[in-house]
């Protein structure tokens, strides 16, 4: 039971080890995977820090800014959005270029307006479900645009196309997260246990996301790809 709890609590950290360990066997990845690789390492830092704060904040006397990990989750969401926006631009530069440039601008505008007038980025009591919901929604739009462009323009099977597994993993993650963030505040008000249970569902979706990224890394045959990181 103790091991199960340990695994459950630290899922957001060890899930990231799966794709990172695949990188050890397949180090030569295409340039389009660069934002994902950066994301994985940053996410590992964010999630480890968030978990350490969660596990230690009530045990020790810590400085005020280390009492809550919500701002780390906020930061994680912002970084994830920009890195995946970069990934979607790299993976297909030809289709919807204006929309792809417009979405990060809108997100930046939202960040400025929301965190100047509506919310506090470093609010200690709860994470910004509004930020997370907007981030998930916009990433979902990117994912749907990817599928749509593949349907219209691609001449090879979509499952074999570059980015399919990453985008599908991301789509499952954001689809699961979106309603959780929408109901998060309500569930906190109603019963904190509900919020914890919902968070567990989101963790499972995150695990799936990491497995899909690992699959994308594993499928990469470095000999057939010319735009590899080492050459770029």
């Amino acid at each position: 039971m103790h091991v199960y709890k340990l695994l459950k609590d630290w899922l957001e950290v060890w899930a990231l080890i799966i794709p990172i360990s695949v990188l050890l066997f397949k180090p030569k990845q295409p340039f389009v995977h660069r934002p994902i690789i950066i994301y994985l390492f940053l996410a590992l830092v964010f999630n480890t820090a968030a978990n350490i704060i969660w596990k230690t904040s009530y045990l020790y006397e810590l400085p005020k800014w280390l009492e809550s990990n919500n701002y780390i989750y906020n930061l994680h969401a912002v970084v994830r959005f920009y890195l995946f926006a970069w990934f979607f631009t790299l993976i297909d530069r030809k289709t919807y270029p204006i929309v792809k440039k417009l979405i990060p601008l809108l997100f930046t505008l939202f960040l400025i307006i929301n965190f100047i007038w509506a919310e506090d980025f470093f609010f200690f009591d709860k994470l910004s479900n509004r930020l997370h919901a907007v981030e998930a929604g916009l990433l979902l739009i990117y994912s749907l645009m990817f599928y749509w462009s593949k349907l219209q323009f691609e001449h090879i099977s979509i499952t074999k196309s570059e980015g399919f597994w990453v985008v599908t993993g991301l789509a499952i993650f954001v689809l699961t997260s979106f309603p959780i963030y929408l109901y998060y505040e309500l569930s906190l008000r109603e019963n904190i246990e509900i919020a914890i249970d919902l968070w567990q569902v989101q963790k499972v979706a995150f695990l799936l996301f990491c497995i899909f990224i690992a699959k994308a890394f594993y499928d990469m045959d470095s000999k057939q790809r010319h735009a590899i990181i080492t050459n770029s």
């Binding site: 599928y147 099977s157 499952i172 309603p179 959780i180 109901y183 569930s187």
Partner: protein
């Protein structure tokens, strides 16, 4: 249908019950179901479209091959017609002229007249030889009678004769003709390539070699002149004046083979790889 109605009613009841956990679970479930269905529909529709495109591509290639085949065959028919006309008509006229000249008694001629008579006879002999040579090249009768290797050797001897070029034919005699029509195409390609090499590359040495293994015929033409790289070949075969190279490429397509031009340290080589199949297959 009743169970669908019951399920919808139950879902609506849950939605209005205020049970947040269930509401979220149902929302996530519905969203994932919707996404899964969308993804499946996308994969299947794309698979169907790709299959259609593949079928169309096969059809286009078949049509293109048919066009190439008829062009190559009609070219061959035309060559035969010209060869027969040259041999039967021009050759016959020249032979008849030779007979007429031979009928003139050289003893009756003196000085300049005798000189002109001998020169005329010599020119007629040369003309008859040339017509026969051209006619044989066009007709490919040696190919039909003695096979591809002998035809290549004969063509090399005839073409190189009278030049300073050293030519070797190192041909694999284990090759036997399975499809005479294909052999004509292979022979025409070698003719065209050798003619081009002699005309444009200015070589001292030419080696034509072949290897027949596992129903695959590999022909390598090596020379030490100024040849073509594969990029140059690709560029030239689309030019109007590059008709010979275009014909070579068409014949390669027709034979479902490959041709590759390359630069070697001591010269240039052309590799022609042809799968050999009997006409039934």
């Amino acid at each position: 249908m009743t169970w669908i109605q019951n399920s919808v009613t139950q879902l609506l009841q849950i939605a209005s019950s205020g049970n947040t956990k269930l509401q979220v679970a149902i929302t996530i479930g519905l969203l994932l179901l919707l996404f899964g269905s969308f993804l499946l529909a996308l994969v299947f529709s794309q698979k169907k479209r790709l299959q259609y495109q593949k079928d169309m591509q096969v059809l286009r290639e078949a049509q293109q091959n048919q066009l190439i085949e008829s062009a190559v065959r009609s070219e061959e028919v035309e060559r035969h017609r010209i060869a027969e006309t040259l041999h039967d008509e021009v050759g016959a006229i020249l032979s008849s002229a030779k007979l007429h000249i031979q009928a003139i008694n050289p003893l009756c001629l003196e000085g300049r007249d005798k000189e002109l008579h001998d020169r005329g006879k010599q020119l007629l002999d040369e003309g008859i030889q040339k017509v026969r040579g051209i006619s044989h090249n066009l007709h490919s009768s040696i190919l039909k009678e003695f096979g591809l290797n002998e035809a290549i050797r004969h063509f090399m001897n005839n073409t190189i004769q009278g030049t300073v070029i050293k030519a070797n034919a190192e041909l694999d005699d284990s090759y036997t003709t399975l499809n005479a029509e294909n052999d004509i195409s292979i022979y025409r390609m070698i003719q065209e390539l050798l003619n081009n090499i002699i005309k444009h590359a200015n070589p001292d040495q030419i080696i034509v070699s072949s290897k027949f293994e596992n129903n695959d015929l590999l022909i390598v033409i090596w020379h030490n002149g100024k040849g073509l790289s594969h990029q140059e070949f690709e560029a030239l075969r689309y030019r109007k004046e590059g008709l010979g190279l275009k014909n070579i490429q068409n014949r390669v397509i027709l034979l479902k083979g490959h041709i590759f031009f390359s630069s070697e340290p001591e010269g240039y080589q052309v590799k022609i790889h042809i799968p050999i199949k009997s006409p039934e297959t």
